[in-house]
């Protein structure tokens, strides 16, 4: 995987949750076949898509991911028979939830990539990376990380400047 | 200890040595990084501290080393929770935070001229070990010293080297024991539960103070034995542990009735414990 020479203003962070049996092997194949794909993706390996809890996806966004990819075996190919079938329903529901609370689903991609589909892995990763790149950084969860309840945050107003002419004007205008 | 008035701010300490007492119990020897703190830190036997593993939080253990040995402190813990497991992952040279010392202590001066019986079970030896060494370092101030210590199995005995040392020195009577079924082929101690072994050992109660620490079940069966041996409730000391967060009487979880273990304890006499509400 050679680094792309082209420079971008924004390099999105993409987290990929993949199953070890298919997609991880597929990504591996892409690597050993010396296919090129964006280096923005960080791959996390799981036994099965059925093990990929929606909370992991949330956590990824919270910790700074701009896009998340979840990928596993094609339906019928699950090493554990039905893990990906269950995952499919769960992720369909989770997408609806995320959308309802105002998360742009374009940042979340699901795919089936088998151990033989190194090319598909490259396509999926490239497409998601480029799409998220045009969308820019994901601000929502990151901003939330730094938000506080007002009482915690009470220090902020101390930085306000005491503007005496304005204050005097205010005094004068009353009473 | 801290220069700041922030009571939650820990002093930083470096792990100087690690000793694995049992497969899941570990001792950390800690040296304060700040020179002033290192020189001025003092505590009394029985006090505890809040140890922090950064990123995981704080945990409460007694200070297991003797106050008479300056320059370092030791803590001993079993890894059972988030903080203790993370402390276990630390290596020599890593940094931990230490807040303390907190709580009351054993009134060692009042024990001068008396005999002492230490009774401990399992992981509860560290809170007494600090007193044991404190007393051994001032050996001539006390009469007979007896240590009855037991654990579930031979492997669960902590401070094995020190047990050996105590066994070998002539001025201490060490009775060690393991629960039935817990002894290896070469075990040189007794087999039986601590209360039973204590009754067999039958230390005299005359002018003697008993210091007991162990799991609630052990305490429950040990107190009647001590009573039979003639110890009055005022001459039996124990140290309690409850879940704590602040260590300074604010967070509201360590109380047993109106007694805050962190402030009014952790050291109590049996009379005080019995007077506490039935919650204990």
């Amino acid at each position: 995987m050679h680094a792309e020479t082209k420079q971008h203003d924004f390099e999105p962070k993409i987290v990929a949750f993949v199953c070890t049996w298919c997609t991880y092997a597929g990504a591996d194949l892409a690597g050993t076949s010396r296919m090129q794909y964006p280096s923005n993706v960080r791959v996390l390996k799981f036994p099965c898509t059925g093990r990929i809890d929606p909370v992991f996806i949330l956590r990824a966004f919270q910790k700074g991911a701009d896009g998340v990819l979840v990928s596993g075996c094609h339906p019928g190919d699950c090493h554990y028979m039905a893990g990906n079938f269950h995952a499919r329903r769960r992720f369909a529901a989770f997408r609806a939830l995320l959308s309802f609370v105002g998360v742009d689903l374009n940042r979340l991609q699901f795919s089936w990539v088998s151990a033989a589909e190194g090319g598909k892995w490259v396509d999926v990763v490239t497409e998601l990376t480029e799409r998220v790149r045009t969308m820019g950084p994901m601000p929502e969860f990151k901003e939330l990380e730094h938000e506080e309840q007002w009482s915690t945050f009470a220090g902020a107003s101390a930085d306000k400047v005491l503007n005496s002419p304005e204050l005097k004007e205010a005094y004068d205008s009353i009473g | 200890m801290c220069k700041s008035d922030n009571i939650y701010l820990p002093n930083l300490a470096t792990i100087e040595a690690i000793v694995d007492e049992t497969p899941d119990v570990r001792t950390l020897r800690l040296v304060f990084q700040d020179e002033q703190v290192r020189e001025n830190f003092s505590f009394r036997a029985g006090q505890f501290a809040e140890y922090s593993s950064f990123g995981f939080g704080e945990s409460t253990f007694c200070i297991a080393s003797a106050p008479t040995r300056k320059g370092y402190i030791e803590c001993c813990f079993r890894s059972v929770g988030r903080v203790t497991e993370s402390l276990r992952r630390l290596e020599v040279g890593d940094t931990v935070g230490v807040r303390g010392p907190y709580g009351n202590s054993f009134p060692i001066e009042e024990f001068y001229g008396k005999s002492l019986v230490f009774i401990a079970g399992g992981i509860a030896l560290p809170p007494l070990r600090t007193v044991i060494w404190n007393c051994l370092d001032l050996r001539d101030k006390f009469k007979d010293i007896t240590i009855v210590y037991g654990a579930r199995s031979e492997a669960d005995l902590v401070y094995k080297h020190e047990l050996k040392e105590w066994q070998e020195r002539g001025d201490v009577r060490l009775v060690k024991c393991v629960d039935p079924g817990g002894a290896g082929p070469d075990f040189d101690g007794k087999v039986g539960f601590v209360p039973t072994v204590l009754e067999e050992a039958a230390p005299s109660s005359e002018n003697t103070i008993a210091l007991v620490c162990g799991p609630p079940i052990m305490i429950k069966f040990t107190l009647p034995v001590l009573e039979r041996l003639g110890f009055s409730d005022d001459n039996i000391y124990t140290t309690l542990e409850n879940r704590m967060k602040c260590g300074v009487g604010k967070c509201g979880r360590c109380n047993v009735g109106n007694v805050y273990v962190c402030k009014d304890g952790p050291v109590f006499t049996a009379r005080q414990v019995k007077a506490m509400s039935q919650e204990f």
Partner: protein
Amino acid sequence: MPQIITEQNLRNLIDLLVKEAKLVVGPKLSGSVVLYEPLAAGSDLTLDALPRRSSKELFFPICEDILSYKRENGAMKVTDVDRSKFPETVLIGAPPCDAGSPAILDAVMSWDYNDEFYLERRRKSTIVGIACTKGDDACFCRAVGLAPDAEGGSDLFLTPLKDGSYACKAVTDKGQALVAAHQNLFADGAGTEPVPFVDQAVEKLDLVKIKKWLEEHFEDPLWEKIADICVGCGACAFICPACHCFDINDEGSTDDGVRRKHWDACGFAKFTNHASGHNPRDVQNKRYRNRIMHKFKYYDDKFGKTLCTGCGRCIRACPVGIDIAEILETINGKED
């Protein structure tokens, strides 16, 4: 000399204080609930309902950093929070059951060890209390020794008058200073008649008797009877003006993060759970008993005060309708 302030001038006062760069906190409509929140202008002040959460969060925030840590060049560095940055604060519009709570909490926050986070905020705040003319059947402040017109805890105390203005009384020097600095908003005079108070269903309790009963009835069928239905949430504790239990947790990585102190509640099953799995308060009624005992016995034992202001919030909020006033009345009415 008695003074009065018109409602408009009370709002003007808020505007001025905001301009003086003070943090002005008062009841404000936030979404569909009234909460104590920073007021951006006098017009934000909402005095028709008791805020859902008490004003304790002004001094004891729901969650606050107590330190931060960072590994720099391999060495861990711990940084204290700059408490001098805490703003000068004015709390406006707190009824006696809220204004009175810091006076109770000061004791636990400053016995032996001082919680400077709380105390610094206390030092920097002025409390403008207001006599309570609302109240409902959950209120029982009179029963715990307060009253709708109790000035305790307030620096400046306002009494709503029938013509819509407020009679003012400077209770402390801080209150005096607040009036003095904005003298042109206040007028001399006693004003019209005050707005009458609402009657309370639970008027008077014998707290000494209750404490004595609690002392003698650590084990009592009452605890199972009232607390078996408790579902173990923290609603009562979190909205209580006097509950002060907290938890301390680290958030962040092992190299960079903060240590935070945040509200905790004795009703949670894990509150006292030891790492070993042993839990001294293993069932819900023991946890509920601790709540009552702490408020009406333990706190009194330690600090000579009752840890309750009778605001009634826990009664209104309890998901299963546990009524602390009813429990106190029951105990109060017991013969033995």
